[in-house]
């Protein structure tokens, strides 16, 4: 492969497909026979031969972190499950993939559903769930049908349903379609929605799902890809799996690159074994013809924006000091967090020099204003005001004082709401305004002077 990365390391970065290994093979299909031919449900056999608590131990040993955006250690989440109450436990799969820029779970659901179902069966066994629900976003209409067909096949062969693989343990899996609402990807909003109500997130405490979740019973909510990763944890064994990636972040990350690059797409890379430079230049082919990269939103639209040309300096959790350009940042959660943003879902949105930054911000503000559930005043009012103020900068009629006003509003939202939608509203603004303030002011003046606007329209 031609090396385009301006700061190359010694070895060219390569993909290490784990989750996508099979679904990329030509002729690979969604049916059970195909999955079995590729070694399917062997990890489940291994799991049911173990005690449930041994399976939990393997997942804890593996160091697997959740793939839904927050990156919480999966094994620790399972440990929090309240086993003393005597109430049944539920497993809920979060397949409500809605974070802008994120499209990794879609591939698993539409192309390799049994991989996720095997992870569900293993997890259900590990936590001894009474029943499992897959909350899939309402727009994945055919995806829900693919899953339902796959569940029916798996039940016939005893991988799900009654008496799984002769273990005496039974677990039914129900596919539940959402209604096109972003906040239902938040685990407590999802639970409310699954109970047949509006998806208003619940306040924690007391509503930690592991204690008071679905029907006020102990509930584990895991992302769709996380469960697919669990299958591989069992296949490798926890200690072996922990060797994939870097300390503190094991396994692979699926980077879903979108926006203005030559080859947008999904790239599955061992955690920490490539940099943003390698991802954007080597895998994605660099910027479009005649363009220059300007900024990236690294892990879904809610993560803080990074600007090309910035220097990132600091100390990693293990004590190592670093001084990186954006291109040098390694693709693991600790390194990315140390740069003041997050790995999130790995959905990287790339912006180049054709983008007017206030329009990009305004586009996202409009998204969050549309998706706020309206429960908490700071988020409901704040998201609408941010959308309105950035909208008038982008469309004309703004004052220069509107730029600091954006920051002022965002600062009053984060940390003041029931769920993390408040942070999702604030972070894009809080990170972008200091970095692109001068450009926003220029956008205001451009419109005041009545000069021609950039060709690419984003709002």
């Amino acid at each position: 492969m031609e090396r385009l990365n301006p700061t190359p390391t010694t070895m060219p970065a390569v993909e290490r497909p784990l989750i996508y290994a099979n679904l990329r093979k030509p002729g690979y299909t969604v049916d059970l026979d195909c999955y079995l031919k590729h070694g399917g449900y062997e990890a489940l056999k291994k799991a049911v031969a173990m005690k449930p608590e041994e399976v939990c131990k393997e997942v804890e040993l593996s160091g697997l972190r959740g793939r839904g955006g927050a990156g919480f250690p999966t094994g620790m989440k399972w440990k929090f499950l309240d086993r003393k109450s005597g109430k049944p436990a539920y497993l809920v799969v979060n397949a409500d993939e809605s974070e802008p820029g994120t499209y990794k779970d879609r591939q698993i659901i539409y192309k390799d559903p049994h991989q996720m179902l095997e992870g569900i069966a293993i997890t259900a066994w590990a936590i001894q769930a009474k029943q499992a629900f897959i909350y899939i976003r309402g727009e994945f209409i055919h995806g829900a049908r693919i899953l339902e067909a796959a569940i029916a096949e798996a039940k016939v062969k005893g991988f799900l349903g009654q008496n799984i693989l002769g273990s005496g343990y039974s677990c039914d899996v129900v596919v539940h379609r959402g209604g096109g609402c972003y906040v239902c990807g938040e685990e407590t909003g999802l639970i409310e929605s699954l109970e047949g109500k509006r998806g208003y997130p619940r306040i924690k405490p007391p509503y930690f799902p592991a204690v008071l979740g679905l029907y006020n019973c102990p509930t584990i909510v895991n992302n769709a890809e996380t469960l697919a990763q669990v299958k591989h944890v069992l296949a490798f064994g926890g200690a072996e799996f922990a060797k994939i990636g870097v300390p503190g972040d094991s396994g692979t990350h699926i980077w879903g690159v979108s926006g203005l690059v030559k080859r947008p797409g999904l790239y599955e890379i061992e955690a920490g074994k490539a940099t943003f430079g390698e991802l954007l230049y080597d895998f994605c082919g660099g910027p479009l013809e005649g363009r220059k990269f300007k900024a990236i939103i690294p892990g879904g639209s809610s993560t803080k924006i990074l600007k090309f040309g910035e220097r990132f300096k600091g100390r990693l959790p293990n004590g190592t000091e670093f001084d990186w350009a954006l291109e040098d940042i390694p693709l693991d959660s600790n390194s990315i967090a140390a740069c003041g943003t997050g790995l999130g879902t790995g959905g990287t949105i790339v912006l180049d020099d054709s983008v007017e930054m206030i329009q990009a911000l305004s586009n996202l503000n409009a998204f969050y204003a549309h998706e706020t559930c309206g429960q908490c005043t700071p988020c409901r009012e704040g998201s609408l005001w941010l959308s309105r103020v950035s909208g008038r900068i982008a469309k004309g009629g703004a004052k220069e004082s509107d730029v600091p006003l954006l920051l002022d509003i965002a600062n009053q939202v984060a940390g003041r709401t029931i769920c993390a939608h408040g942070e999702a509203v604030a972070w894009p603004v809080q990170s972008a305004v200091p970095k692109f303030k001068d450009e926003y002011l220029e956008s205001i003046r451009l419109r005041q002077r009545g000069e021609p606007l950039p060709k690419l329209k984003l709002i």
Partner: protein
Amino acid sequence: MQTPSPSSADRPLRPETLAKAPAIVAQYPQKRSATMPLLHLVQEDRGHITQEDMRWVAEQVGVEPMQVLEVVTFYPMFRQAAIGRRHVRVCRTLSCALRGSYALMEGLEKALNCPRGETSPDGDFTLEFVECIADCGCGPVVHVDGAMHENVEPAQAEAFAAKLKATLKDPDYGLRAPQPGTPEWNG
């Protein structure tokens, strides 16, 4: 605005729809959880959800009709008014916008003779901007009923609209089994 279609609004729900309800409700430890699945079922039958439908759903799951209305009005996918024969949803959010979804929308408004957020005067198309539909690497994407169209560049707006118009004359539209790799499979 949206043209009401009295024929589908007035008729009772199909017997197949009614027959599916008990099994759906039985999947859940608590009946109320079946609210959204039943609303999807009704909307697939009629195209939208009426007051009468909400009363029926409420009865199935053992809540007051008001509690079903609460759900219908919260989720963007549920609608109380009829829409056009083809529901065209263009993704508006950043990844698709960077690839030209605003220009595409302008092209489709012209080619389908339908302003965004409305139904065309002939009732053939409802054209909407929607938020991220999780197919960001192939933007701009357009979700038409059950099919996902990827990489619909703004320059193709007219050709794409012509393709959609041709489906109006297809008697088997939406009835064929989806094949992997097609817009119907990814829908």
